[in-house]
């Protein structure tokens, strides 16, 4: 058993060889500081602009609206904290959802401790935000709406266009965490009325440690890192040139392959969902069936605990993840699974499988075959299953 089937691409992706090749010279030969005056330094300014341009173009944004950060979490933190501060005089109310990434939720909690008020919108059983509830939550003091483009756990894609239109109509800033969605679904910041957007390179076959925040021209936002004039004085620090080159290369690659890649992933995703639903009893698909990231599959298996499922899959060479408490170090299962209404014990038995372009149908057949055995084995040891069988005799 040497083959590794990597189905955790929502956690991170393999850096594409093309990306690594593009980055390497910027460590060894073209290593200069872009702020320096001499050739090997100053030349990197143009390199950065070129890559910023590629990224801006992929979103329908302007080049100077892309601000590089150290990743998606930093972009989320920046978007929330620095706009809250900049718009404090206008109001102190922020609207977000209950299923955001912790980079958003914990930033909101921090802002609450500073006197801001936050509305956390509910989602329905598929993980979709209720537009009516959003409209009803808007106050004269609302300064920011932050709703993720697509959820990292259950893959549900939000009605971003509608949300953006509502924000625009009420002259409220709209931020979206697109860490999972960028390069998986087409995004245009003007069409969707997006004022700020967070992204991270390592989710799209780029390097780790680099992300960006798109900030629409005209949005007031405070500097998040002080100490230099980089990123139009808004984010100090010598630019991560290899990272930026890697990111630009990864985006160009992802845009080039998006249509074909996602079409193939959707087909495989639906094949995997169908096989699991048909062949493993007492399971539930989490997330929306069609408004869903092309590569996301998330199931709950009743009477099964997630971590033991993951270890068993790992022993068979399959990498996956779960929303069980035991995989997070806390006693509570994933807040996303609880928000879509799953009881605790069913949330503990969740399994997320996120595909990549490299995954084949044969891989998925192997995964389902193994998963069937693993779920049956764990159930045979489960007192909950024992009680269930006795009750239904």
């Amino acid at each position: 058993m040497n083959k590794l089937i990597y189905l955790d691409n929502a956690a991170t992706t393999k850096t594409a060889q093309e990306v690594v090749d593009a980055m390497l010279p910027y460590y060894t030969e073209q290593f200069g500081n872009p702020s320096s005056i001499y050739g090997i330094g100053a030349a990197n300014k143009d390199v950065i602009t070129k890559n910023r341009d590629i990224i801006a173009g992929s979103l329908g944004a302007k080049t100077n609206e892309i601000y590089f950060t150290a990743g998606g979490s930093e972009a989320d933190n920046w978007a929330l904290k620095a706009t809250a501060e900049a718009y404090e005089k206008k109001g102190n109310h922020i609207i977000t959802s209950k299923i955001e990434h912790h980079a958003i939720l914990h930033s909101c909690q921090y802002l609450e401790s500073k006197g801001f008020e936050v509305t956390y919108l509910d989602v329905d059983e598929n993980g979709v935000v209720d537009i009516e509830e959003l409209k009803a939550s808007i106050r004269p003091t609302t300064i920011l709406i932050s709703i993720m483009f697509a959820n990292n756990e259950i893959g549900t894609i939000q009605p971003i266009k509608e949300i953006g239109a509502i924000a625009h109509e009420h002259e409220i800033l709209f931020h979206t965490d697109a860490v999972q969605a960028f390069a998986q679904v087409p995004i245009n910041v003007d069409e969707y009325h997006i004022d700020m957007l967070s992204s991270s390179a390592h989710k799209l076959n780029g390097p780790k440690g680099i992300g960006f925040l798109y900030i629409r021209t005209g949005v007031k936002i405070r500097s998040f890192v002080h100490g230099g004039a980089q990123e139009r004085k808004r984010r100090a620090g010598t630019e991560n040139v290899p990272g930026i080159v890697g990111y630009g290369t990864a985006v160009a690659r992802a845009m080039r392959t998006m249509e074909k890649r996602t079409a193939k992933e959707v087909e495989l995703r639906d094949y995997l969902i169908e096989r699991i639903e048909n062949e493993i009893p007492y399971c539930r698909l989490n997330g929306h069936r069609t408004l869903r990231l092309p590569n996301n599959v998330n199931f709950s298996f009743q009477f099964v605990e997630g971590e033991s499922m993951l270890i068993n899959l790992d022993l068979k060479g399959i990498c996956a993840s779960s929303g069980s408490a035991c995989t997070s170090g806390s006693l509570d299962p994933s807040h996303v699974l609880l928000a879509i209404g799953l009881p605790h014990e069913i949330a503990h038995g969740s399994l997320r499988l996120t595909l990549s372009e490299e995954i084949t149908k044969e891989d998925l057949d192997y995964v389902v075959d193994q998963l069937k055995e693993i779920v049956a084995l764990i159930r045979s040891m489960s007192p909950l299953y024992e009680d269930f069988l006795k009750k239904n005799k």
Binding site: E305, G306, S308, I311, A325, H348, M381, S382, Y385
Partner: protein
């Protein structure tokens, strides 16, 4: 993250199953936290644990500690079985990650709950055994089929 012993007991759990007409059964933990352990004891007339089986809903550590706990109490008389503490189970497994220590506590409690059940059924008192605090029963939460 787990020791070889833990992985061994996780992959090849000893004493999985049920005992019909068991002398004592104890179930502890709750599904909310993600761990439930049920221990079945078959105790002979000399108060020696003749057989012990378990069923566990839980993580790798929960399954491994259940397996090890059943191994440790098997063949012991009920008084000695009380000495099988969570520390003893952990040591026998060459340790557990800090976040998993509660699993070993659950194993100790499950044995105590099964012994308590035995004592109640036979109307005896086991020296040093306190009423288990964490016994759950069928009335907890109904499992909905979907």
């Amino acid at each position: 993250m787990y020791t070889e012993k833990v992985m061994d007991h996780f992959q090849h759990p000893r004493n999985v199953g049920e005992i019909e007409n068991a002398s004592g059964v104890g179930t502890v933990g709750n599904a909310k936290c993600g761990d439930i352990m049920r221990i079945y004891l078959d105790i002979d007339e000399n108060q020696v644990i003749r057989d012990c089986k378990f069923k566990t809903f839980g993580c790798g550590a929960a399954i491994a500690t259940s397996s090890m706990a059943t191994e440790l109490v098997k063949g012991k008389n009920i008084q000695d079985a009380l000495e099988v503490t969570n520390k003893a189970v952990m040591e026998a497994l060459d340790g557990l990650p800090p976040v998993k220590v509660h699993c070993s506590l659950l194993a100790e409690e499950a044995i105590h709950a099964a012994l308590w059940d035995y004592a109640e059924k036979h109307d005896i008192k086991i020296e040093g055994l306190e009423k288990p605090k964490n016994d759950i029963s069928e009335d907890e939460e109904d499992e909905d089929e979907y």
